[in-house]
Amino acid sequence: MTDARKPSSFLTSSVSRRSALKGLGATAALTAAPGFVRYAQTQSSAPIRIGFQAHRTGIGASYGRWYERTTAAAVKAINAAGGINGRPVEIVTEDDGTDPARGAEVVEKFASQHKVDLVYGTLFSHVVTGSAPAAGELKIPYYVVSEGYHVASGKLNRWVIQPGITDVRAQCRSVAPWISQNVGKKITMIYPDYAFGHDHRDFFAPAAAEQGAEVIAQIAIPPTETSFTRYFPQIPAGTDVIYHVMVGPAVLTFVKELGEFYGGRGPKLFGFIDSLEAVDMKSPGLDFLEGSHFWEGMPRYLQADASEAERAYRDAVGLDENGAAANDPRDVSTNAHMFGCWETLYIIKRSMEAAGYRGIEDRQKLIEATEAITELEEGVEHPQGPKRFDGKIHQVFGVQNISVVENGKLNVVHKTAIEDGLYEPEADYTTQSF
């Protein structure tokens, strides 16, 4: 009906061009006629368009800014190396406001109006969950760089896939042995009282128990809370370690108040850097974190033993050795998560090349190609480290970093193995129809 209203679109419509190509496709390889070749080349040099669902406004904006920068850097690198299947990559960005309702609308906009090849880049789990139905209905691949358990749980659909960053369940499992062996066995958990926090609660406690450690208290903080001191008396006196994970703008208050409350004499601390992403470790009030440990997806501070690939990645994104923007030391990155953008874009490239991706009619092949991935080697494409992809649950597994705060910097003291994070899959997306 679009065509009926716009007669000229019969000539320019990509559908008719593609169907023409399809007809030619079989013979094009055999036909050496120059005219055909030129036609095929102009076709194949049209950019691959990736819809980037970005958190430009709303609670995720700190992450969103760095996700945009990492994405731009990765696309620049990919294009400089010849693009994907010889075609350049073009990013079309839409702001989702870190809001699930707007997220779903944006997916529709990408699919129906921008007509991108796929959608990519979302971090916050409620936006992923809210957008997933739209992606499934419109049958558009949705590559997310989130970290909740929502993708791996099997509750979404076959079009949603998370190949660039590990999920919370794997993170919890990976760090549990190290905590119980090196920090302490009686653990109190403090986490936000919503799904992300509950994932930590549900997956860390059993993993700790397997290691002979014990979670002796679980304190769920309402996400509307902006001060935390009042909850600290609930931390039992026998606690060896406080396992803390918080998100949102109040996280700095949380760690500061913890310091004021205990004054360096309390239990040891193990935290997820999510609390301090985009926050300078040298911020006033954080001095008491000295000696405490953090999970990091990828180290914020440049480590002495960093690989060539990691250094190249950091340079491309524009990070100084403290993990801040090279041109503004106060602009601290979210490096523990944003590397996932870089790696996901390379997965997309790899999958498109494996699938011989030509256009949106190959979207299904693209998902199947990603599902077929198993081992991923450390290198330029995967600077964070080697990974293993499980096509059944659309989830990647990788190494985790445990870092200690020394002189206001995070130094990696332990890297977990991929195996530490593996768990029995609870779902199988590959049995779902498209």
Binding site: T57, R102, S112, Q113, H126, T129, G130, A132, P133, G136
Partner: protein, 320 residues
Amino acid sequence: MNGTASARVWLLHLAFIAALVAAGFLLPDYHRGVFSRILVLAVFAMGYNLLLGYCGLLSLGHAMFFAAGLYGAGLPLYHLGWGVPASFLAGVAAGGGLAFVVGALALRTVGVAFMIVTMMFAQVVYLTTLYFTTWTRGEEGLVLPPAARRVGFGDTVLSLSDPTSRYAIALTLFSIVLLAMLRLVRSPFGRTLAGIRENEERMRMLGYDTFRAKLSAVVVSGLACAAAGAAYGLLFGYVGSGFASIQYSILPLLWVLVGGAATTLGPLLGTAFMFYVIDYASGLTTAWLVLVGAALIFVVLFFPKGILGTVRERWLKWLP
């Protein structure tokens, strides 16, 4: 009001609905999808408008009724495997029940106190959706599986995830609520509400049970908003705490005030206006909230009674 004027009003609304039916065939995919959402959200706004526009009660807590519908429909479908019609009715019933309780309590207050009490009750509902994260998945929310979002009529199966049937269902719901609202506000009950809005004391002295009338208005408003919430969840397949947050109490207020309070078509106009301003502005600049804010101020400077409200005041006095 004479017969011809009344006929003109009904004709206008029927023509409006006919135009929306036609739009279902003419709109490009993206805009048809957008309008499916706008129509459902406009039901939410119309429910809100009954209270604010026609009864003069400013609530800052209507997210709780939308959420009651959303969760009332979504949870039984997700956890108990209920069918779509039963889930929808459960959502509407949940909204009606909640509205009755909240209305009975909050209507003891008037004016700004009513606004604050409803806001706090809504905050309680929001926190409740988080407290029961085990079942609701809190802010992350639940995806309602497409397989469960189907209605069978004999041999034909209507899938709510199909864009065409989705538009048809959204439009049907919108049309029913629109015509019901039109009928309602032109009925003696509607005039009682308007009387309460203008001068409650006088209505009471005239022998009207104003509390009862206001409570009825709250319940009808709650039912409409819950119907919108239930439809939103079932049609778009997602249920999450965000819809219970204060933002979704402020949005219907904004839609109604922008479109024109106490106009029947204003809520739809306001909802569509806000959607397209955001959609357009966010394509122009990354700092799009400035444009949205400026657009709001601009609209209100030139249309202080909302778009349709001001049009009615200045030009089309017969608009309902």
